[in-house]
Amino acid sequence: MSALTRTALGLGLAFLYAPILVLVAYSFNASALVTVWGGFSTRWYATLIADGPLIAAAWTSLKVALASAAIATGLGTLAALALERHGRFAGRGLFTGLVYAPMVMPEVITGLSLLLLFVGIGLDRGLFAIVVAHATFGTGFVAVIVAARLRGLDRSLEEAAADLGAAPARVFASVTLPLIAPSVAAGFLLAFTLSLDDLVIASFVAGPGATTLPMRLYSQVRLGVNPEINAASTLLLATAGVLVLTATWLTGRRTVA
């Protein structure tokens, strides 16, 4: 490996990780000041556990993430099957756009327009609205992961099952689904993570009734740097790390997403 390659890798990874490491390190700082190291302490984690509204927001987020990821996984898997296994159909271009556009659409647009829909049809803002919103943008991410796996599959396996007389539904249940199951699970984990992370869309559709963890964190972050937020962030980072490792292991591939 050349010196140039090594330098580029070193600088790139340092840039990606330095802020995260700083944040984690200062979550264990006894001092409340960010630039002063006051010794090792876990006091901010104790503050965190005693922070009722924050814990309540974390539970809300968890519920929303589980429900929305489940819906997104179902819809995303179906969308991937439609795009990869079911050939050409009328409106395919629009369908492809509808599946993939929510992934890049600026969140303020998605958030505002969903809110206007919910108000227009008289749906109460709150938990259910956030679940619907998160399921909508999670679908595209699940579809990308599952579609990639479907494309890599040996189609002759499905054809063999069909030749041996299995009905399409049976081919799917006993051949296709077991083969794509790891990527479906990885898609679920990604949709779950994205839901847990979303601030902007949730802020629009949540209304006064529901507060998710990022909304709670944001309201505190706006007031400035605060070691308790560092502690919360460290726990979230650890959760994300575990989820990535699980997803990578599930897909058995080099990477996910």
Binding site: P19, L98, V104, M105, P106, V108, L117, L190
Partner: protein
């Protein structure tokens, strides 16, 4: 045959219905409300369509719509500046990302193959990590009494703390940082699978490493670069969190303007008009992205 076509249609139906109802229809509603006016009621806009009014209800409803909000947007320099500076921020950050991302992705692709899975995982982890938290982390680094200034002062490189937080520079740093994985992953996916014999052939014919990179590697990686650029540029145009936390009060971006019209001024129709303008700015790139999405997404997922 008919049975399997019926099955195909059934597979498509749930995502069709869901995405039409919760992604397509909302845009139509946003467009309609951008033609309404603000009101102190719930919902806080006029006119509200009276479904029971029949044809007459429709015509009074349509007559009440107007382009007032767009006139406001066009007439006020604040909104024009916000639109231009959104494009400028997103464009500049995408250009920087193209350079940084290409360097990092190329280095990853040239690293020993046994290291590559680890390197990819290291780039993916931040993508899975909370966006809000990764942006927040920069506040402690960039603020006047923050770590960067402390380090520079101790090294004697600067006489007094630099004002970095709450400037446009901080917003650019935040954009480049937060979106780097989106640029690197599609680029790496293409670069890691380039046929090495092409590079060797160019080298055998006498091209130096720099020339090989510019004339062989980079043109062959164009698809990855394009996908990465779109993945970054489109959401950056409407970015809210980064300008809000790292930018100053004078940092205008459409995402932030939309947010404050909605949450602070409670002017839903004007916020809707800003959303429509933002959508018009990104719709071209989104159409391009749709074509790339399947390819790029598949590459990135490999």
């Amino acid at each position: 045959m008919t049975r399997s076509r019926l099955l195909d249609a059934l597979v498509r139906l749930p995502p069709w219905l869901w995405l039409s109802a919760f992604f397509l229809v909302p845009f139509a509603i946003t467009l309609k409300i951008s033609l309404s006016e603000a009101a102190t009621a719930m919902p806080p806009y006029l006119p509200v369509l009276d479904w029971k009014g029949g044809l007459e209800g429709w015509s009074t409803f349509l007559e009440a719509l107007h382009f007032q909000n767009y006139e406001t947007l066009a007439g006020d320099a604040l909104y024009r500046d916000a639109a231009l500076s959104s494009l400028a921020f997103a464009g500049t950050a995408t250009a920087i990302l193209a350079g940084v991302g290409t360097a990092l992705a190329y280095a990853m692709a040239r690293a020993p193959s046994r290291w590559q899975p680890l390197l990819v995982a290291l780039v993916v982890v931040p993508f899975w990590t909370s966006f809000l938290i990764r942006v927040y982390a920069w506040i402690a680094i960039l603020k006047p009494e923050g770590l960067l200034n402390a380090a520079l002062l101790r090294l004697g490189l600067i006489p007094a703390p630099l004002e970095i937080l709450n400037t446009q520079g901080a917003v650019l740093i935040g954009l480049v940082y937060a979106y780097l994985p989106f640029m690197v992953l599609p680029l790496y996916a293409v670069m890691s699978r380039l046929d090495p014999t092409l590079r060797e052939a160019a080298a055998d014919l006498g091209a130096g490493p720099t020339r090989v990179f510019w004339t062989v590697t980079l043109p062959l990686s164009a698809a990855g670069l394009r996908a990465g650029a779109l993945l970054c540029f489109i959401p950056m145009c409407g970015e809210f969190i980064i300008p809000d936390l790292l930018g100053g009060s004078d940092t205008l971006m459409l995402g932030r303007v939309l947010w404050s019209e909605f949450f602070s001024n409670r002017d839903w129709p004007l916020a809707s008009a800003v959303a429509v303008v933002l959508l018009v700015l990104v719709v071209g790139p989104i159409v391009l992205f749709r074509g790339d999405a399947r390819k790029a997404g598949a590459e990135a997922a490999r």
